[in-house]
Amino acid sequence: MRKRGLSFLAFLGTVAVVLAPAAARAADTVDIAVIVPLSGPNATVGEMIVNATKLAVEDINGAGGIKSLGGAKLNPIIADATNDPQGAVTTAERVLSQNKVAGAYGLALSPLTTAALPAFVKHHVPVVTSAISDKLVTPDNGGYLFQIAPKGTAFGNQQVEFLKFLNDKYKMGITKAAILYVNNPYGTATEKGIEQLAQKAGMEIVLDSAYPENITDASPLVSKIQRSGAQVLFPVSYITDASLILTGLRSADSHLLVIGGGAGFIWPPIGESLGDKVNGLISVASWNLDSKNVKDESKLSGVTQRYQKAYGTFMPEQAGEAYAGISVLAAAIEAAASDDPAKVRDALAKLHVTGGGGAMMQPGEVEFDENGANTHVVPVMIQWQNGVPHTVFPESVATAEIVKP
């Protein structure tokens, strides 16, 4: 009996510890939750988002905060969604039940989003996310999820469109495609899109194979590709496997066309590690720092430069989406003229952003359909040129000429 008492003490102790920070909260601020993976293999994603969030909040508050709330300042409450769904749920519950937040941004990964969503629905807090799974934007999501990034299948679509475009432009006559994807939600989602559309486009899929996360050696995959006789490779990979595949191909002296599936192929580390060998690499991206909508808007391009200055790398896609997402959220609060999350949700549903930070997302405007999908957004194709990814497709947002692969 004594020991049980003891354990309850321990429990109460932690209660105290946790309630403490919740107590302090200035009156003229609007809290928003930023819940992203900050530990485990995907922590990098979280860090990019947090970096961008800081810039966005800086700008919004610098521009006088939420005017409709008497210039209340935006106050991001950053929390670690960890790397597993259980962690995401408890974190969401922690943040949502200990703070009165007007809205939330983050989660970023489909499993975390799927698991944590019910908590947001229960607390009636809208969450803007950069997770790309199509499954998220269905009537099941309770109407509290707003997906600012393009749908997973849209990426495949764009990659295939781009290939067609290349075929026409350079008469490459590419017909045999190989798909190589990491065996996780992100990989499988993207792969579906590529596979369906490639067939529609009359491509022959000569290789369509998954590989586990955390591989330490890609050379078997490379020999697989070579054996398949593919002319173009659509790899969907994170940073380590992306690098292994690229170096593997190079060391095998293979010159087939690679159209990367985002993530690993566009994050700063790949550029740093490959040096100038990275130039010419092509990939799809959910956002890029020199798309027309960013480049032509000095404010926004200024943001990308500040990011470069503050964090030492160019502004990656996750950061761009985050900046847009936070701004959109702010715009919704502004429109709702209230920090009541339910009202903010309704505002988000009606919202049509055409300027300000929200325009960071290509093509420069954001609108959500009844399932919370971003109706305007399309993925962009980038090509690494002198160490930085440049937007080369679609024409609507392209700012750089393609260097023939």
């Binding site: 020991k3 670690d80 749920v89 974190t91 519950e93 698991a115 908590a119 499954k135």
Partner: protein, 323 residues
């Protein structure tokens, strides 16, 4: 009997606390805690007996959960029935793994369970049209439906989880003084002598393995509806297995309350870490890991042993009550 009452009272207290607790966060922490304690308790039934560490127990959670959910979503079988089938599935798996590994000792056993889990994991990944592959399966529902284990109020899951925990603890307490309990004790102290006393050691071990798996699976069935989502790495990955083992051993494998203490300790550290460093990654993981290291270094036999030692320091009376 007295113990049974205490356990029941403890459950009532916990349940009441859970219901009165205004704070959803602590409700969810407490629920997670209850599930972890339940699993650690079931884990300890096997590993407390053999003294070996299983790093594959999450697979029993996963099998039960997958069977239940797949039956539910694709054949509309109520989880109450599907759950039974799920548990059965776990038991079948356990009987195979158990029969194969019961000869193994120490690290051999640990590595065997670990890789058995890995096999199942990659099978779940492979048969994706059934299991949803790496993207896993989501259970979304809008309104209460008790017979489908669907409750919009998470407190319900807290009640069920703590209820199951209490029930399992009671069951194990009763088991201790049953025929099987005596056999387990005999085997624990010397397999040779146990056999010489006419105990079918191998059979008893397999039975215990299956029992342990069944109880673990029981938790898994409810848990998956609570969390509303499952994917292979999450449910049958190493992380959960390790959590279960850590909690049981840190709590104290020789004590009925050990796993519960362990779960409280584990979640408490997590809560504290998140409260202090929640906004920056790494800290929580680091603190959890090193807390375990410190714990083992100070008292390898777990928190219960430590508590008892402290109590002895305070006043002579040895607290054997929960042993």
């Amino acid at each position: 009997m007295r113990r049974a009452l205490v356990i029941f009272a403890a459950w009532m207290a916990a349940a009441a606390a859970g219901l009165l607790l205004k704070n959803d966060y602590f409700a969810s922490v407490a629920t997670a805690m209850a599930f972890l304690a339940l699993w650690a308790q079931s884990w300890n039934l096997l590993c407390g007996l053999t003294g070996n560490i299983s790093l594959g127990h999450s697979v029993f959670v996963a099998v039960a959960a997958y069977v239940t959910v797949i039956l539910f979503q694709q054949a509309g079988v109520s989880p109450l029935l599907g759950g039974l089938l799920g548990i059965l599935g776990s038991v079948v798996l356990a009987s195979i793994v158990g029969a194969a590994t019961l000869r193994l000792r120490g690290p051999y056993f640990t590595l065997a369970t670990l890789s058995a889990a890995a096999v199942v994991l990659s099978l779940i990944l492979h048969y994706s049209q059934l299991t949803g592959g790496p993207s896993g399966l989501a259970i979304t529902f809008a309104q209460d439906s008790p017979f489908d284990l669907e409750f919009t109020n998470v407190r319900a899951y807290f009640l069920i989880a703590t209820g199951l925990l209490a029930a399992v603890t009671l069951f194990l307490d009763f088991l201790k003084r049953s025929k099987l309990g005596f056999y387990i004790a005999a085997i624990k102290s010397s397999e040779e002598a146990a056999a010489a006393a006419g105990i079918r050691v191998a059979l008893v071990k397999v039975i215990v393995f299956c029992l342990s798996a069944a109880l673990t699976a029981l938790g898994g069935v409810v848990y998956v509806f609570y969390i509303g989502f499952m994917d292979p790495n999450f449910l049958s990955g190493l992380t959960l297995s390790v959590e279960i083992a850590l909690i049981a051993v840190v709590g104290g494998m020789d004590y009925l309350i050990g796993p519960i203490i362990g779960a409280i300790f584990y979640e408490a550290i997590d809560v504290a870490a998140n409260a202090t460093f929640g906004a920056s990654g790494g800290w929580d993981v680091m603190l959890l890991g090193f807390a375990v290291v410190v714990m083992v270094m100070t008292e390898p036999r777990g928190l219960c042993e430590l508590t008892i030692r402290l109590l002895r320091l305070i006043h002579r009376r040895p607290a054997r009550f929960w042993s």
